[in-house]
């Protein structure tokens, strides 16, 4: 039913209005996501203000090279996503699918690198609890840092995973030629979600890894 008449649902005047309604919908969702992560950042700010030395010590125990590489990977995935949306807008099916799968690959690379990083953390016993592997000053407060480290990075990683699945589904649908220059809203809104997950990481990264390196 991919005729020109079914490019938009009957409750809309035209495809443009439908697109704007979809964009408003995804932006409302993104606003709630910003607030959702905002609570985590508020908890982070309060704990860091109360225990600045412990946050500096905890931050130095994290793996900066892997986290920095991951930031670059995620920024690059945002580029491939933007190019995918651009290709979809131009109605270039093959290009759209390729850019979307490139984004999926980079998203999976991010998760793999994060997994390796967690593996190193676990090996060094940097997990809050009885066997916590840091015995320096402020041991209990450093555990608070690591509690927030895992909470924030894992909640973010779940968002990346959801994004990867969504983009893979959209790529598959795109490969069947279901999108066109007139109708590519799913590609557009999935891209907006992916960019927001990227933005959140741009705040997570310095907050957790760059507290004190000097």
């Amino acid at each position: 039913m991919a005729s020109a008449h079914s490019a938009f649902a009957h409750q809309f005047d035209d495809a443009r209005q439908q697109r704007e309604a979809s964009q408003l919908g995804i932006w409302l969702f993104l606003a709630t996501e910003i607030l959702f992560f905002g609570v985590l950042f508020a908890a982070y700010a309060v704990t860091r203000i109360n225990h600045p030395a412990a946050f500096a010590a905890g931050s130095r125990l994290t793996n900066l090279p892997l986290a920095s590489l991951n930031t670059a990977v995620l920024l690059t995935s945002s580029l491939t996503m933007a190019l995918g949306v651009h290709a979809a807008q131009a109605g270039a099916r093959r290009m759209t699918v390729n850019w979307l799968y490139a984004t999926v690959a980079l998203g999976l690379a991010f998760l793999a690198i994060k997994g390796i990083e967690y593996g190193i953390d676990f090996k060094e016993n940097l997990v809050p609890g009885a066997g916590f592997g840091y015995d320096g000053p402020g041991r209990d407060q450093v555990q608070l840092y690591f509690y927030l480290y895992y909470l924030i990075t894992m909640v973010h990683a779940i968002h990346v995973l959801i994004g990867v699945i969504a983009i893979a589904v959209i790529a598959r649908i795109a490969s069947r030629g279901r999108y066109s220059a007139e109708y590519f809203t799913p590609v557009d809104v999935t891209g907006l979600y992916w960019h927001l997950v990227d933005i959140i990481w741009l705040f997570v990264y310095p907050s957790l890894y760059l507290v004190s390196r000097s």
Binding site: A15, R16, Q23, L24, L35, V39, T71, L79, H86, G191
Partner: protein, 92 residues
């Protein structure tokens, strides 16, 4: 139907390079002992990076005003949440 609000691939590549450049600056600045200025620099870089993604990759620059409003409400909500929380914590 004009969809001129979507940026060109050139814009995306330039913003990507800018974002990577800012990432390098933030890493380098973390190794310079500046005290409280380190936090200020990190936050300034994060907000600049976020602005680049919001304006160009997410097309807010040329988006419908309603979308500007919704995006601002999200960030404004966080600002209230954190500012009022810190107003308590910092003045005890």
């Amino acid at each position: 139907m004009t969809e001129s609000h979507l940026a060109s691939p050139r814009t995306y590549v330039i913003s990507w390079l800018l974002l990577l450049g800012l990432l390098a600056v933030s890493i380098a600045s973390a190794f310079v002992p500046l005290g409280a200025m380190n936090v200020a620099i990190n936050l300034a870089i994060s907000f600049t990076q976020a602005a680049i993604v919001l304006l160009f990759s997410m097309h807010l620059r040329a988006a419908h005003p309603t979308l500007h409003l919704v995006a601002v409400v999200g960030f404004f909500g966080i600002a209230i949440l954190i500012a009022l929380t810190l107003a308590d914590v910092l003045t005890r």
